[in-house]
């Protein structure tokens, strides 16, 4: 009951943000929403299924490059189409990759996903004609629900229509993920995390469910990637580099992986913290590393772990 009220209050606050806050923090919320969606997927893998991916950035980059390709090379501006194609592309890539990866667990899974992420990175970096090499490809301003908003400048577009659009996508993604987490699939995944042998014994096909989780996570990652690419205006290979995957995991841990809202809180906290610390010191990586160490050692359940435990999320 209290949580529901808090949720409503949070949504109301986010809806009112463009009127309350100056434009810069609003533009920072956009990548937070985008990462939020990508992390919802990552959380299904790590938080729910217990598989730690160090290659999730592959799918984020895939989404960003889909947006780049469609807007600059194919002149498809409808963002709905971009999201759909990105989701499809992610699924197509995730099926073979997932089939290979889910055969392993724990460290082996992490390493294999890392290898696939770096494979994609090298591909983006080396295949110049197709991907623009290190420079990447520009992402043009898309149209939303058929409207181009030509009267708005980019900041107006980002902090206005695109903000609400991204917020709506995030809400939708969160609802979908909630359904998935509470579906028989979600329950089975949880059972697998707790005890894979027992789950298999009671008739859960461990590998198949892990595979489903992998593909769903990939789709969420790519959708987040499309949203991430629009404010930047560019898709570049660094999006697929292994340290970007590491940052994604960092965000998730910061928010709290066993909490449903963890991904959203983590993404927002990471981005605002980075903004703050980067302006403060050139040694912000050290601060972040130390912060990560403290979280891992003392607060493994993240910021939301500080709250009273949630019942069966």
């Amino acid at each position: 009951m209290i949580r529901a009220a808090a949720g409503v209050a949070l949504v109301a606050l986010l809806l009112a943000m463009p009127r309350l806050a100056p434009p810069y923090p609003i533009t920072l919320l956009l990548p937070a929403f985008a990462y939020g969606i990508a992390l919802l997927g990552l959380n299904l893998l790590f938080g729910t299924t217990g598989l730690l991916s160090f290659g999730h950035a592959l799918f984020v980059a895939l989404g960003a490059y889909t947006a780049a390709w469609l807007t600059t090379r194919c002149h498809v501006m409808a963002f709905e189409a971009i999201v759909a194609v990105a989701a499809l592309a992610a699924a197509v890539v995730a099926v073979p990759v997932g089939l290979l990866c889910v055969r392993y667990v724990k460290i082996y899974f992490s390493m294999l996903t890392l290898a696939f992420g770096m494979l994609f990175y090298s591909f983006l970096y080396k295949f110049y004609a197709l991907t623009g090499g290190d420079e990447g490809i520009r992402v043009l301003r898309p149209s939303l629900l058929g409207r181009g908003f030509a009267d708005l400048d980019k900041v107006g577009f980002l902090t206005g229509p695109f903000y609400y659009y991204a917020l709506a996508m995030l809400a939708l993604a969160a609802l979908v993920m909630r359904r998935i987490a509470r579906s028989p699939l979600g329950l089975s995944l949880r059972a697998i995390r707790e005890n894979a042998d027992k789950a298999a014994f009671v008739g859960v096909s461990v590998r198949r469910y892990r595979f489903y989780a992998f593909v769903i996570a990939a789709v969420f990652g790519a959708v987040g990637g499309t949203l991430l690419a629009v404010p930047t205006g560019l898709a570049d290979p660094l999006l697929a580099y292994w340290t970007h995957s590491g940052n994604l995991v960092f965000m998730l841990l910061l928010g709290g992986f066993d909490h449903f809202l963890g991904p959203l809180v983590g993404a927002a906290a990471f981005i605002f913290l980075q903004d703050f610390v980067m302006s403060l010191t050139v040694y912000w990586r050290f601060v972040f590393g130390a912060l990560l160490a403290v979280i891992v050692i003392f607060f493994p359940r993240g910021l939301l772990g500080l709250l009273p435990p949630e019942r069966a999320a």
């Binding site: 392993y104 992490s110 050692i297």
Partner: protein
Amino acid sequence: MLFLVAAGLQLVFGVQKILNLACGSFYALGAYVGVSAAAWALGHGLPAPLFVVALLAGGLALAVIGPPIERLLGTVYDRDESFQLLLTFALVLMLEDVIRFVWGTAPVQLGDAYLVYGRITVAGSTIPVYNLVVIAASGLIAVGMGLLLTRTRFGRIVRATAENREMSEALGVDRRRVYARVFTLGVALGTVGGALVIPATAAVSEMAIDVIVEAFAVVVIGGLGSMRGAFVGALIVGVLKAGAIATWPEVEMLAIYVVVIGVLVLRPAGLFAGAAP
């Protein structure tokens, strides 16, 4: 070179089941400290041909960071491996800035130490003798590690712990002490590797993040936790890279990952499976 980093990774993984993302950072630290140590020693009258001693000393001395870092990791031994992985990622971030803080951002190098031992010509191509020194040193270290693990009491304990933590503990092995030593040994392999490579190259801050990916490739190809695998894996990666550059430079990086994935798919435990997954 890659072999030493990979060997450190293998050792730590084999025994402690920790995948150390920070091994690249130890390598970079070793390189920087190696330069500083050698430059200092040469400045204090060390005869030039002996600079390798200073390098090695610098690399070994750096291993003192092993135990405190191991203690840090020790706080999460009882949790999922993923947390250990993340903690090493935190180390990568921190050590990168430590290097920046101490040595700045410009490339750091040892002027003309590379050719102190001269060059020789073999089959038409010229090779600096120092390269042979490094190869010999790696070989010696490999043999030494092999002897250490198979012939000494310490080696037996280490292998027993790798095989079965609980059992060895029940037999009175102080697990924490074994871990601390093994981890420090792993760190030392990385730092010595970094220190040895430096005359032929220059220390740059991004070497940590780049080398880790190749070290991973070596480890996966060779098989996790296997020393012999690390050696063969390093050879394969080296040959693969050279071959790709000579024939089709576009695929230099891709080729390595394709082989990595191929190995993982076909022989998940690596070509020389040591500890079974």
